[in-house]
């Protein structure tokens, strides 16, 4: 049925995913492939259906039509089984466990990779301590990796915004995923934090985890991604390398709402970019002082 190629390299393959809410079709017949070692961007104007698409992939919504496979096996539409299979995610509106500590949040992420049941906990069977310690060790490694190690004992709700986003990533990584879905990981971050997030995502990719990321920050997306997919009103408009997508007139039209011709827009873009660069340099200086 699908015309898309699935190579042994394919991590995630979604085909014909459609999601209807009553009369509204939030996602319409979307195909997407993520190969191992790739960072794929998913962009689109507000309300385009990006988050809904994520929810379809991770089993939070049962798609009306279409199917999703992970490394060749069909993903059941149950969130915990999707995570078990190896797809982890973060949320657009941060959804940590606010009254648990930072470390405990990450430990919850280890749930699918540990086995100790109630009996083991109650009787403190021999394996219990070992497994618990191993989990803690792994969780601390992840906190080191995301730069949160010194906040391990803080309540997650007391973390500043940027660190909450990082913690969500650490928690997702704790489930040892093969594919990480990030829903607007830099929303609300300042330029430095955004750059740090970029580094973090590259580092995650280097660990052999494929990444699918939704983001509105174009510069971030264009720096980061191997391929970018554009969703508009639930449908996939274009997919390709950042250069191709950036140059596509339909994409620009979708974002700005009007068809437009060449020069003035480019100039404006350059101006804005220059201003932004200036701003970020000053703020860096301000910080070092």
């Amino acid at each position: 049925m699908t015309s898309m190629t699935t190579t042994p390299n394919t991590v995630l393959h979604a085909s014909g995913v459609t999601m209807r809410f009553g009369g509204l079709t939030a996602v319409r017949n979307v195909d997407l492939t993520v190969n191992s070692g790739e960072i794929i961007g998913l962009i689109g104007p507000n309300g385009a259906g990006k988050t809904t698409f994520f929810n379809c992939l991770t089993g939070l919504y049962v798609p009306t039509e279409g199917k999703v496979t992970y490394k060749g096996t069909v993903l059941p539409p149950k969130p915990h089984l999707v995570t078990q299979a190896g797809v982890a995610r973060t949320f657009q509106n941060i959804r940590l466990f606010p009254n648990m500590t930072v470390l405990e949040n990450v430990l919850v992420g280890r749930h699918t990779r540990t086995k100790e049941g109630l009996w083991s906990a109650l009787l403190r069977l021999p394996g219990f301590k070992k497994a618990e310690n191993a989990s803690r060790e792994r969780a601390m490694e992840l906190l080191e990796f995301t730069g949160l190690a010194d906040k391990a004992d803080h309540l997650s709700r007391n973390l500043p915004y940027g660190e909450q986003r990082k913690l969500e990533i650490a928690r997702a990584l704790a489930s040892e995923p093969g594919l990480l879905l990030l829903d607007e990981p830099t929303a609300g971050m300042n330029p430095q934090e955004t750059r740090a997030a970029e580094e973090l995502i590259f580092a995650i990719r280097d660990q052999g985890i494929a990444v699918l990321v939704i983001e509105h920050d174009m510069r971030f997306i264009m720096n980061l991604c191997d391929r970018v997919s554009v969703l508009v009103q639930g449908e996939k408009l274009v997919e390709g390398t950042p250069d191709i997508v950036q140059a596509d007139e339909r994409v620009i039209a979708a974002y700005l709402g009007t068809p437009f011709e060449g020069a003035p827009g480019d100039e404006e873009l350059a101006e804005v970019e220059a201003a932004e660069t200036a701003q970020s340099t000053t703020s860096t200086e301000g910080d070092t002082q």
């Binding site: 915990h80 982890a88 100790e116 007391n158």
Partner: protein, 597 residues
């Protein structure tokens, strides 16, 4: 003059008076109140406790004496007396105010009670006036002391909020490390005091003494909290977990041996049953966040199951299982019911569960009523219940008769108390171990955010069912002992709300009052909720009303319950208040105002 400006900067006191003068006055007032307790307060011994004796205090005077002595002690600590500074690591003036309230409350209540019962204030002897006026002076002066938490911006003009503000204290200053043996000694002493206070409360022989006890203990507890001593203690107990648990256990074992009468030992045993069931409920409500309004039914299932196999002549089964088997049957039956009720309902989210469990609780009671031979097969004798359940015999040790142990006589309630204590220990262990494990974290995660929890790979239904079934099993376990202790099980013992705890409403209240998700919270909450109605018989008719009012007041004043969850404590700890300088603010603000002027 300067002190006045100080006041404005560090929480305006409600009464304008120079700080040092106020402090002297508190000290003097407390001393006067203390001296007054050594004099007669009334002329006749008609008032219980015999307050007619000059020379040594008795009855309610002892409570005033205790409160006044503590006030004095904390006043001296506020002076900065060497060797007493450790009393006030957090607030200094707020605890003083609370202790002055304790002194005044107890004394005032006693004087009121004497006048009321004997017919007029003419019945008061000079000693009563001495203590009363001393306590009043101390109270007024205590409210002239500046607040412990700086800043008035949050207080505004609302007098209620201003009072709240003057009673609040900052976090405790960092503790000096003390050697292990000293820490252990402190813990042991704290538990010895705790046992003494608890036993004193149970043993109060007349209503007036119990009310006075509640007033003194309540304000003193608040004062110790604000002084930061309880924070210190809980830090110590966290450091020496095993010692703490052993100390608590030993203190609990000692309790029946301190009781000369069966009546009070019975109260102790009932408190333990109530507390154990509340702790079981805390797994379901506090950890997993599942609102179970019919929890007492699981206690009933356990009690009925054990009664049916107990060999009682009225049991329709007519079998007599040994106790260990009865326990398994009781807990097993509750487990089965827990799974049966939980499996279809736990797939739902939110309030549906509360409604279904509420329904189940009622269905259980009505079914037990109807299985009487008329409206159904005769299994439970209907509303007559299963009477004459024989006493438990463990290793030839009959719990129904008195035994002499090391010179102490332990009656039937004492025996059951000790058996129940073993069950409590089991439940405490289960609670601790399950909470601190992968499954416990999954429960809390589900409670915090179910969507995020499932997205982290937690099978919500499965994990919730485990919590629900475990909670049911623990209740069933307690039920087996409860059935034998009361020797009769009737459907009316297990209802949603009634005047006798444990019932579902009281169990839930014990969890919320004590502190959700904590281990000691429900134990303390249950003890209070059992003791207060048991001791204050006169308010039986208004019990549910007063209970509701008390719950509302408590939720307004201390929403986290008596014992704050470790997580909530952490939240407090992280507000940065730790770094605020301790209350030697008296100098700095003056300088500031001067500079500003």
């Amino acid at each position: 003059m300067t002190t006045n400006t100080t006041h404005r900067d560090s929480g305006t006191p409600l009464i304008p008076l120079p700080t040092s003068l106020a402090r002297h006055t508190v000290t003097a007032g407390a001393a006067i109140a203390l001296i007054g307790t050594f004099m007669a307060w009334t002329w006749t011994s008609d008032f219980p406790g015999d307050l007619t004796v000059d020379g040594y205090p008795g009855g309610l005077q002892l409570l005033t004496l205790t409160a006044a002595a503590l006030t004095l002690l904390f006043a001296l600590s506020a002076y900065g007396v060497q060797g007493l500074r450790w009393l006030t690591p957090a607030g200094t003036n707020a605890p003083l105010r609370l202790l002055a309230l304790a002194t005044f409350g107890t004394t005032g209540y006693t004087l009121g009670a004497i006048s009321d019962e004997l017919g007029g204030i003419v019945n008061l002897e000079p000693g009563a006036y001495v203590s009363g006026i001393g306590a009043l002076i101390a109270l007024i002066a205590a409210f002239a002391l500046p607040g412990d938490t700086p800043g008035t911006d949050t207080t505004g003009d609302n007098p209620w909020r201003r009072i709240r503000h003057t009673l609040a204290a900052p976090s405790a200053r960092p503790a000096q490390p003390i050697p292990d043996w000293a820490g252990i000694l402190v813990i042991v002493a704290a538990f010895a005091i705790g046992l003494y206070v608890f036993a004193y409360g149970i043993d109060t022989a007349y209503t007036e003494l119990f009310i006075g006890f509640l007033i003194t203990a309540g304000f003193t507890f608040a004062a110790l909290t604000q002084a930061g001593l309880l924070t210190r203690l809980s830090a110590l107990t966290a450091q020496h977990r095993t010692v703490t648990l052993s100390a608590a256990f030993v203190a609990a074992i000692c309790f029946p041996f301190t009781q000369s009468s069966d009546e009070y030992a019975l109260i102790g045993a009932n408190i333990l049953i109530f507390a154990t069931v509340a702790l079981g409920l805390n797994v379901v409500v506090g950890l997993a966040g599942l609102l179970d309004l019919g929890y007492v039914a699981f206690l009933g299932v356990g009690a009925y199951a054990a009664a049916l196999v107990s060999g009682a002549s009225t049991s329709s089964l007519g079998v007599h299982f040994p106790f260990w088997a009865a326990i398994l049957v009781g807990a097993g039956a509750s487990l089965v019911f827990g799974v049966l009720i939980g499996a279809p309902t736990l797939r739902l989210r939110g309030d549906y569960l509360a409604i279904v469990t509420l329904g189940f609780g009622e269905i259980f009671r009505i079914t037990m009523n109807n299985l009487n031979g008329n409206s159904g097969p005769n299994v439970t004798n209907g509303s007559r219940g299963i009477p004459a359940i024989p006493d438990i015999t463990i290793f030839g040790w009959d719990l129904g008769i008195s035994h002499d142990i090391a010179g102490f006589t332990l009656g039937k309630p004492g025996n059951y108390y000790l058996l129940m204590l073993v069950i409590t220990l089991v439940v405490v262990t289960v609670f601790r171990r399950s909470a601190d494990s992968r499954i416990g974290r999954a429960w809390v995660a589900i409670r915090e955010d179910e969507t995020a929890a499932t997205a982290m790979g937690i099978n919500g239904f499965r994990v919730k069912l485990i919590a629900f079934a475990l909670g049911a099993t623990l209740a069933g376990l307690a039920g087996t002992v409860q059935g034998h202790l009361t020797s009769t099980v009737t459907p009316e013992q297990y209802q949603f709300a009634g005047s006798v705890p444990p019932n579902s409403a009281f169990l839930l209240a014990a969890v919320i009052l004590g502190g959700m998700g904590t281990m000691s919270g429900p134990l303390i909450g249950a003890a209070l909720l059992y003791l207060i109605p048991a001791k204050l018989q006169f308010m039986q008719d208004y019990q549910l009303l007063l209970f509701g009012v008390a719950l509302i007041v408590l939720m307004r004043l201390r929403p986290e319950g008596i014992i704050a969850d470790r997580r909530k404590k952490l939240e407090f700890h992280e507000t940065g208040q730790l770094d605020t300088p301790e209350t030697s603010l008296t100098d700095t603000p003056v300088g500031v105002t001067k500079a500003g002027a």
